[in-house]
């Protein structure tokens, strides 16, 4: 095994990349100094500590359940003879696309007292349904909206793993469960911990779901202090970011102890016959879809249909028309797909620095990219506005441009591609690389003919995560987008804010359909074959 020093160009690119991703963090530090904030003092204040611990409690619970659910779903849909596996694989990533402010609202509207589900349950004699709120509600909704962070990378990894070790374990007398624990779990550990870390960081940064579920976390405290007590909002945000940084370092420490698997598929993966477990597996997948996709979608469709029927009956006319929907959908698709590709390009050098060369710059850049995921979107938007204003001519050039919007999205969501891209880089066997270089292939040729084909499923899953998340992004889309660049999410927000639920519903249904299309195109169709 050869470990050469990283090429200088790569280290330079990595350094620039980490600087770009550090913008929000540097901005927060600057703001804490200039606004006279006192983050240290707040740390010992019970009014801060309580929401902080609530945030931690929720994040731990959601991470655990999303990791278990995401892994189980990935295993069921890639390694078993479950029926309709291809269909499930298209639909399962969809919860990622619900903006939590409307996803949670739809969820509440469907399942809580007086909602759609009550009507259905009432018809079969069940009249009491529990009200979703607080820790339980926030945990459930965030688990359902976050499991794809684990599911997508783990499923991509599972499809790529060699079956040989697993077969050996089975031949040597292990049960399927034992083989999973001893072999498969180790093989997927990189993807699993990277995905779980994202769930954790997303949960501590989420505002939409926790506020609707009325679970008081740090983000709520930040949100309601922006105008009234700005120094407090900045100090709390810095505490959030530092905490995120510590969690990222902790994950790295854990990950370093895990065995590294640098192998690609040479034999077909083992496919298990579920037998009598088929019903249970179907229930798991079906139940997840019922609560994570169908229930919120039903509410959205209900709103949309109500609005369309209303105009038929001559009620209040809709405030949107076909061309507005098309415009917003086009903007959403264009910006999110470009963001997905640019994010891959941005994090790939860092992934190579870490995965192949174990370069120090790479490790620092990697931590910065991932920890930035915990910064609330509005602060990322404000920080980029701040830096463009500080950078004079260059900033003027970027102001109000698509380029700045894409850049902001990439800073917000690059972390999603990071972990998965890193696993993809590590997947490339060194031997294969050495062989290619012995045969005289130059670096670019090696990259194209050796690295890329092996990494492709992982990279596509990474791009998929970024694209689906960008489609739902709100604060950056409002604050940084060029003026006159509506996206589906900004339209949903505008309509929903003023209780134009029909308009919000129509846009949201279009958003879900568009994400299903992309999910089919990217995550399934291309990632299926190596």
């Amino acid at each position: 095994m050869t470990r050469t020093r990283a090429p200088r160009e790569l280290r330079t690119i990595g350094l620039i990349g980490s600087l770009a991703f550090a913008f929000p963090g540097l901005y927060l530090i600057w703001r804490n100094f200039t606004s006279g904030a006192d983050p240290l003092g707040l740390l010992f204040d019970t009014q801060t500590l309580e929401p902080f611990w609530r945030t931690v409690r929720l994040a731990v619970l959601v991470s655990a359940s999303a990791a278990a659910l995401g892994t189980a779903l990935a295993w069921c849909t890639t390694r078993t003879d479950l029926s309709f596996r291809r269909l499930w694989r298209v639909i399962l990533p969809i919860p990622l696309v619900f903006p939590t402010f409307i996803g949670a609202a739809a969820f509440i509207r469907t399942l809580n007292p007086g909602g759609l589900a009550n009507d259905v349950l009432g018809a079969i004699g069940i009249n009491e349904t529990p009200e979703l709120r607080g820790l339980l509600g926030a945990w459930l909704v965030l688990t359902l909206f976050c499991y794809p962070y684990v599911y997508l990378p783990v499923a991509a990894r599972l499809r790529q793993l060699p079956g040989s070790f697993e077969q050996s374990a089975l031949i040597l007398g292990d049960t399927a469960a034992q083989a999973f624990r001893r072999v498969v779990l180790r093989q997927i550990s990189g993807s699993l911990t990277a995905g779980t870390l994202l769930v954790f960081l997303y949960t501590i940064s989420d505002f939409g779901a926790v506020q609707l579920m009325r679970y008081d976390t740090l983000t709520r405290a930040i949100e309601s202090n922006y105008l009234a007590r700005p120094p407090m909002a900045f100090a709390l945000s810095l505490i959030l970011l530092i905490f995120a940084g510590l969690v990222v370092l902790a994950e790295r420490a854990v990950n370093r102890r895990l065995p590294e698997v640098t192998s690609r598929r040479i034999s077909q993966p083992v496919i298990y016959a579920l037998g009598r477990w088929k019903a249970a597996a179907t229930l798991l997948v079906g139940g997840t879809l019922l609560f994570g996709v169908i229930a919120p979608s039903a509410a959205l469709i209900d709103w949309a249909a109500d609005g369309l029927l209303r105009t038929q009956r001559g009620g209040r006319p809709l405030t949107i028309n076909f061309s507005k929907v098309v415009e917003a959908a086009t903007n959403t698709l264009t910006s999110s797909v470009i963001t997905g590709l640019v994010a891959l390009l941005a994090v790939a050098p860092i992934a190579f620095l870490v995965g192949r060369y174990r370069d120090r710059i790479g490790h620092v850049a990697h931590s910065i990219v991932i920890a930035t995921f915990a910064v609330p979107g509005i602060l990322i938007a404000l920080s980029l506005r701040f830096w463009t204003l500080k950078s004079g001519f260059f900033g003027d050039l970027l102001y109000n441009s698509m380029a700045l919007l894409i850049f902001a999205y990439v800073v917000r969501f690059g972390s999603l591609a990071m972990g998965t891209a890193l696993v993809a880089v590590k997947t490339v066997p060194d031997g294969l690389h050495d062989a290619a270089s012995t045969l005289g292939a130059d670096r670019w040729r090696r990259f194209r003919s050796v690295d890329l084909p092996v990494m492709r499923p992982g990279l596509l899953a990474a791009a998929g995560l970024v694209i689906l998340s960008t489609m739902k992004e709100l604060p950056i889309s409002l604050i940084i987008a060029p003026i006159g660049f509506p996206t589906l999410t900004t339209r949903i927000f505008g309509s929903f804010e003023d209780a134009f639920v029909a308009e919000a519903g129509i846009m949201a249904v279009v958003l879900v359909c568009a994400s299903a299309l992309l999910s089919w195109f990217l995550v399934l169709r291309r990632a299926d074959h190596l």
Binding site: G115, V337, R385
Partner: protein
């Protein structure tokens, strides 16, 4: 992969470009209702608006303005709070000429940062003194009234309270929703402090918490939850329930209840318009503010969006309850000790957000 995606991207870009083409301005629908005249030619003037009022309600007004004056209008839509933060961040270099806010709080924030310019007297005089700033830095252009929304199946008319102070009674234990951290509630509570003194206001909020008042993040979620019967009643802005009824009709089981006219729970909260100090288009900006206060626009606000008109002698929509209440415009935020900062502290300390 890139090769496969590239054609898709190129097609999308062209579609986007084709959609963005501009020609002679033509308006229809609600915008044409506001301005039925033929559009005038472009005047070469322009105005950039940061609007915390959403496009569903304001876009027709802005289209009508562009049509009637030939001023080219650019809008960044968003939440009032976030746009105020953005303007603060951009400072003197902001692109915004005009900032439209859903409630007075964000305007007070910008005023405290010295970012607001002075509106022309001719525009200021279009609204009553109680609906504009004494320094001439903002004007109100429509109003929303605080009301008690209630589920008609769960609370009978005979039982209804007449004051927010009634809601601390045991009878309403666990039955009242409060949007504790929401912008318009915070503004309302600030006025409450001004009118009754901080001690009384804080005591009321603490009593509500002791009475198991339930926290919701905003007005809309309270109106929606009340309509479903998840909660009996809640303190909100009047206008969300009109939108819900307009959308769902009788299926939505909540209706507004007006507390007594002189009760603090009947306060009128204005939506505000400002011109930024750094604006290089202040003439067009003032024209826009004046346009917001014309008869057709004020009529549009009350008849189409169920808000209270503030100018041009327009009568409120007959469907709205009569208005004799306190108006928030009469309150000088600077005179309040600690202003919003103190309000935030009291609300946070009451623990309402954990209810």
């Amino acid at each position: 992969m890139l090769k496969r995606l590239l054609p898709l991207l190129i097609t999308m870009t062209f579609v986007a470009a084709a959609c963005g083409g501009s020609e002679q301005l033509q308006i229809d629908g609600l915008a044409a209702e506001i301005n039925p005249e033929e559009c005038v030619d472009g005047s070469g003037k322009e105005v950039t608006i940061y609007s915390g009022r959403t496009e569903n309600l304001i876009e027709p007004v802005l289209e009508a303005f562009a049509c009637a004056t030939g001023v080219s209008v650019q809008v960044r839509w968003g939440s009032s709070t976030q746009l105020a933060l953005l303007i603060d961040e951009e400072g003197k270099r902001t692109a915004a000429d005009v900032f439209l806010s859903r409630s007075p709080g964000p305007v007070g924030f910008l005023e405290s940062k010295d970012l607001l310019g002075t509106i022309d007297d001719s525009v200021l005089n279009l609204v009553g003194e109680e609906n504009r700033s004494a320094e001439g830095s903002w004007i109100g252009f429509s109003g929303r009234k605080r009301v008690l929304v209630r589920n008609v199946d769960m609370v009978s008319d005979a039982d209804l309270p007449t004051s927010v102070f009634d809601l601390t009674a045991d009878k309403w234990r666990g039955k009242v929703a409060i949007p504790g951290t929401n912008g318009s509630f915070v503004d309302w509570f600030t006025v409450f402090r001004d009118q009754y003194g901080t001690d009384v206001a804080a005591q009321w909020l603490n009593d509500m918490v002791d009475n198991d008042a339930r926290y919701y993040p905003n007005n809309r979620s309270i109106v929606e939850a009340t309509g479903r019967g998840e909660i009996e009643m809640g303190l909100v802005n009047h206008y969300y329930n009109y939108q819900e009824v307009a959308a769902s009709g009788d299926e939505h089981r909540a209706r507004n209840h007006d507390l007594d006219d002189d009760d603090i729970g009947s306060l009128l909260i204005i939506t505000a318009a400002t011109v930024l100090d750094s604006s290089k288009n202040s003439e067009a900006a003032n024209d826009l503010l004046a346009f917001l206060l014309t008869e057709p626009v004020q009529s549009y606000f009350t008849n189409r969006t169920f808000e209270y008109p503030l100018a041009a002698g327009v009568e409120p929509n007959p469907a709205l309850p009569a208005l004799t209440a306190l108006e928030i415009g009469s309150v000088d935020f600077d005179a309040l000790g600690g202003g919003f900062e103190e309000t935030a502290r009291i609300i946070e300390a009451s623990g309402i957000q954990n209810q």
